[in-house]
Symmetry: C2
Subunit: 366 residues, 2 copies
């Protein structure tokens, strides 16, 4: 997608083969790219949130192992890789995508390979991982686009108003994003859309990243507080809700950024379609229902302090009494009955076990 | 209620007769009281948000007219009062309570009075207005206390978990508050309660003021983002929701701080009682249903910038792109069907025209 008129991915190789990323910690206030020169740079980028989002973290780690072998000597490269892989895994121990990407890389090589052979394999895998993610997002976009096109047709050229929460955008993937892919495709096709962007407290990914993404692509949007969406739906100002997810379980319940459930309730009360976009890799077939998903509690300072652009640069202000007690759950569960459908790279299905199995028949086992 | 162990009202006369208020702009980071010495000080305090909340604004303006007559000469005091009244009205032109308090004051005096007589009248009225508000809040508290007591009995001494939004507290009234009055009374009675405090974006009245109020009274609470309440209700961690309102209309629909509707939906979905506390003065008998209430749109900077305690004092940080478009509606409408009951100074009734008329039979006219 575009930034300052130029097409970017969230991670890329530049003309001289350097691995580059966007420093997402400084967005939307400053746009800065960063070279990842050694595997240690990739570990730092993951742990200090220079890069974020499951797919981007996975691809960054995959490139990290390629960088690790480049710096290793010809005879101990496998040991160097094992050490790097372990260190990368420890940057975000609970990130499933990260563990998966590292495992794929390590499984693709073996001791009998030359260092050159192994390093080519690791580079190709990293590229493939990035391209696969882009392809998945594109196919999600094409499915979601149909929904937007239908609404545009029904409104006979009237603007299609879409509400989204958090950032299920291309900055957390490699390109297109998940929930945002249909928006970009609709806009590129000339459909008039307008996006309501939930700011998404506490970490404000909507205010910081989704606004930035949409603005750079010249898609009209309004930033709103997380409190405002219900009123907008009551007033008929939302045609469809399109959100991402961290995890979809077997019965179609969805775990997503805290606050998603409230928007689903409002959409349901006002008969507004509520769709979740997801790569099939985020389906957790092992968990039967949403209430079985453990809820991560996050740091109190995410709530007590707000970060942003101050007079002297990026700064933080405290918004509550210093000794305030805080409870900060990271996501909530939206029951399947409030979800109009799941948009995957294999098409759209009902949010139910039967719906999921209709798209993924090979997984028809209990 | 207490601050630093000492009982306060939000506006009071000190031992030497000075009119004092709390500078609420600096809360919760600094507690500072301020003398209102001339009527111009009261106008400034209202317009710059040193004082806020409908009842407190009304009482402050009423004291303002008393201060205006004190400074006027013996022969032109009525003209001086008229000028002051007009200027005070213009500090917050849409504040119904402010207009009402000023009108009551002006109607209570007439040209044939001596300045001394008129000034005594104005002072007594201001005191009476403050005392009336306290009495209303106290009666709301007594009604709401019954609900909490019932839950405590049912839970056999288990902690009663109450969720609230914004600040319907004593700082915006004179004492007790509306939605908070039952909490203070339950706590004083020894009932174990715990409060979930919505931070209440954009102006963060929950994070700033409700936390401060509860902390100073030693009531256990946790500050949460506005997004979190739905999850807490799903998890059975909320026993009752208690909120205030700006305006209740004839059919029982309620206008309150943006985000209230989302909490009402979540309470309804999880079968949790959802009550609104209100003084009968905020019932608007002229409006038939909530959808007829005009929604005030507020300044974009309330969303784009967050104010708080920075390293160098009270500061602001920008959380979105500088050119971000913002929509910032001030309140939303909660349909009566999601409201378990209205808690008024005359008791609790159903959120319906019949319910309201059962408490206020004299108003049984269409």
């Amino acid at each position: 997608m575009k930034i300052q008129g130029k097409s970017y991915r969230s991670i890329w190789e530049d003309a001289s083969g350097r691995i580059m990323v966007i420093d997402q910690r400084k967005l939307p206030h400053r746009f800065k790219t960063l070279e990842l020169n050694q595997w240690q740079d990739t570990a730092a980028a993951i742990s200090n949130m220079t890069v974020r989002g499951a797919p981007l973290i996975g691809v960054t780690a995959a490139y990290g192992l390629y960088l690790a072998i480049c710096d290793a000597s010809n005879d101990n490269w496998l040991l160097a890789l094992k050490k790097a892989s372990e260190a990368l895994q420890n940057t975000r121990p609970t990130a499933v995508n990260l563990a998966w990407a590292l495992r794929q890389q390590m499984l693709s090589i073996h001791a009998s390979m030359s260092k050159k052979e192994a390093s080519e394999r690791l580079l190709n895998n990293a590229r493939q991982l990035a391209n696969d993610d882009i392809s998945v997002c594109k196919r999600i976009g094409e499915s979601g686009l149909k929904l937007i096109r239908e609404i545009a047709n029904r409104k006979q050229g009237g603007v299609v108003n879409i509400l989204t929460h958090c950032n299920a955008g291309w900055l957390g993937c490699i390109d297109w994003g998940t929930a945002t892919a249909p928006l970009y495709m609709a806009h590129h096709e000339g459909i008039a859309i307008h996006v309501w962007v939930d700011e998404t407290r506490p970490r404000l990914q909507g205010a910081r990243l989704t606004t930035f993404e949409l603005g750079q692509e010249n898609i009209p949007y309004h930033l709103i507080t997380d409190n405002a969406g219900g009123l907008l739906m009551q007033q008929g100002k939302v045609d469809i809700c399109l959100l991402g997810t961290d995890r979809t379980v077997r019965n179609g319940d969805v775990a997503n950024k805290i606050g998603t459930y409230l928007k689903a309730l409002a959409a349901y009360d006002n008969k507004i379609p509520f769709y979740i976009a997801l790569p099939s890799s985020s389906i957790d077939w092992e968990i039967e229902r949403g209430s079985d998903i453990p809820i991560e509690e996050r740091d109190a300072n995410e709530v007590k302090q707000v970060e942003g652009q101050g007079q002297l640069g990026i700064d933080r202000v405290s918004i509550s009494p210093d000794n305030a007690a805080v409870y900060n759950p990271g996501f909530d569960i939206t029951p399947a009955r409030f979800i109009s459908g799941l948009i995957t790279e294999h098409g759209i299905c009902k949010a139910s076990e039967a719906g999921l199995l209709s798209l993924f028949p090979d997984l028809n086992k209990s």
